[in-house]
């Protein structure tokens, strides 16, 4: 195919779009509506996902360790914390019954936890820190009792690891893996919340995919309908093209260009509209909730998505319609 003829046919496509401008405007309108809805779906789900992510980060897991110091609570007061000299206490408990005897061992266990897949971060919480945060919300009189214990080196809390996960969907699996580590006594978590969050995220993703799929089909139908109208108004040209021996590719090209032009115009308008909508909407949202994803962070993705939808529906729509027409045998030069 020669460049000059491609230029000519592309020009014809642009001319078609203009000659057919009422149809073009109508289909651009419908396409923009579809794209704006798709864009809104994407932006809402992105923002919700981000908010969920924040919630997830706060939803931490505490893993308490089999800490020897805990056994010392009460009776083993004579024994120093972390002292690993083998000496059974009154209740017959030996240091070797425990895995963790000092902070160094506890920190090593933290490192082991960090190596597990899906563990995003691990923070070591010493028994002292644990007690501090536990007593924070207590009444003054209760607090006094615990600080008294701490002072007597009888902190009842074992060392612990504060764990955040990357993917909440793998929550239960990850918990199991942590539990299997030697030295973990018990795990405290809010798995119910984790599951709800995961379910909501999932639901949003599935709904988003459905919305996009349905609207893409609508876009395809709209564009191919416009092309069908153009095709009927240009049957005379098509007939002549076929009579003089134009290849199918040549006959199709102007229509494909028209479809693409409609798609691209729609994509650009949708992007602009969404930008305005988003700014107006987020100004109020930021004031109430604070923290939304900036439009600029999503701008390229959205534009790419719109261009993709627009160009794909333009090209596929026109190719389907024209090919169906071109394959018809007989009377192919018929004008009307």
């Amino acid at each position: 195919m020669k460049l000059s003829s491609v230029k000519y046919l592309v020009g014809e496509g642009f001319k078609n779009t203009w000659t057919n401008r009422l149809m073009t405007i109508a289909s651009v309108g419908v396409l923009v509506a579809c794209m704006v809805i798709i864009g809104l779906a994407v932006m809402i789900s992105e923002n919700v996902n981000m908010a969920m992510g924040n919630l997830e980060k706060q939803n931490v897991v505490m893993a308490y360790m089999e800490d020897y110091s805990w056994a010392l609570y009460g009776d083993g007061a004579n024994q120093k914390k972390g002292d690993s000299t083998e000496k059974a206490d009154k209740n017959g408990i030996r240091p070797s019954d425990y895995t963790i005897h000092n902070e160094a061992e506890a920190k090593a266990l933290c490192d082991q936890i960090a190596k597990i897949d899906n563990v995003a971060s691990v923070t070591f919480v010493s028994s002292k820190e644990g007690l501090e945060s536990a007593t924070k919300s207590m009444l003054e009189s209760q607090k006094e009792y615990f600080t008294f214990l701490e002072e007597k080196d009888q902190n009842p809390l074992p060392c612990a690891a504060k764990i955040a996960m990357a993917d909440m969907e793998l929550f239960d699996e990850t918990i199991k893996k942590i539990e299997q580590l030697e030295g973990i006594d018990s795990i405290q978590s809010n798995s119910g919340l984790a599951q709800t969050l995961a379910a909501i995220k999932n639901g949003i993703t599935v709904a988003g995919i459905w919305i996009i799929a349905i609207l893409m089909i609508i876009s395809l139908v709209i564009v191919s309908n416009t092309i069908r109208v153009t095709m009927y108004t240009r049957k005379l040209e098509i007939g002549i093209m076929k009579a003089v021996g134009a290849t199918d590719t040549f006959v199709r090209l102007p229509f494909v260009v028209e479809g693409m032009v409609i798609g691209i115009i729609s994509a650009l308008i949708s992007e602009g509209l969404l930008y305005c909508c988003y700014r107006i909407a987020t100004e109020t949202i930021i004031k109430t909730f604070g923290g939304v994803i900036a439009f600029s962070e999503m701008a390229w993705v959205l534009l790419l998505l719109f261009m993709g939808i627009g160009i794909l529906s333009g090209v596929i729509g026109s190719v389907i319609i024209i090919s169906k027409y071109l394959r018809k045998e007989g009377s192919e030069f018929a004008a009307i």
Binding site: K2, L236, V244, G330, A335
Partner: protein, 239 residues
């Protein structure tokens, strides 16, 4: 395609169109052509005549591969139409120029662009297009009307534009189904004279007509169809 305009070059030896036992039955069950056998040599001018429904248009459509034959073998310009794939049809069509009874000019293009359109869509480059379109328009005597719109022309002039468009890609064969059907008698003579002129330069011309006067006054080969069969053919002699 090569320049075969110099008639003597190909002479009347090689058939440009050949039908062997060709039948065409439409899906409706109408037997439009039955066992047609014919040879048309390169450089000939052939009138196809016959009453309405005789199968003249069907005969032309088979040559242009607008319709497919049910049985028999058709060879046009070296293409075996019975074995031809859909993809090759454009190549066959580029060897022929088609003239329509109703002109088929694109109303929103001027005369020049209408003729140029036929070159653009087969991939010609713009310099060739300018040269060939001017040549074709002056051949049909419309060089001065290049900027006119079709609705500013008489029927005869419009058909001459149609003729220029059929000629512009230098075809070996002109196919014209009743090209004078929509123009007055004087213009008809002018158009057939033009076709005869083009034929003298070596292009084979195949023309369907109902006009006995034309057939009588221009001494060309006449093929007569009736009920889908060739009932007369004056190849080499008079009807």
């Amino acid at each position: 395609m090569e320049q075969t305009q110099q008639g003597f070059q190909v002479s009347a030896v090689k058939p440009i169109i050949e039908f062997r036992g060709v039948s065409k039955t439409y899906q409706t069950g109408t037997h439009a052509l039955e066992d047609v056998n014919i040879k048309i040599n390169s450089g000939e001018f052939v009138f196809v005549v016959g009453s309405s429904g005789a199968g003249k248009s069907t005969f032309m459509k088979l040559i242009m591969r607008e319709e497919k034959a049910n049985t028999g073998k058709i060879v046009v310009n070296g293409f075996d139409l019975t074995k031809m794939k859909r993809k090759s049809v454009p190549m066959l069509r580029r060897t022929m120029g088609i003239v329509f009874q109703d002109f088929r000019l694109i109303p929103n293009m001027n005369v020049f662009d209408n003729v140029a359109f036929a070159m653009h869509v087969v991939g010609a480059d713009s310099r060739n297009i300018r040269r060939e379109v001017s040549k074709a328009l002056s051949l049909v005597g419309l060089g001065h009307k290049a900027r006119s719109m079709p609705n500013q022309l008489s029927g005869g002039e419009q058909q001459r534009v149609g003729l220029a468009r059929a000629l512009v890609n230098s075809p070996d064969l002109i196919i014209a189904d009743e090209p004078t059907g929509n123009v007055d008698p004087n213009m008809s003579y002018e158009i057939v004279s033009l076709l005869t002129e083009i034929n003298k330069r070596g292009t084979t011309v195949l023309m369907v007509t109902h006009d006995h006067n034309l057939v009588r006054d221009f001494h060309h080969r006449v093929i007569m169809l009736d009920g889908g069969k060739i009932v007369a053919d004056n190849a080499g002699g008079d009807l």
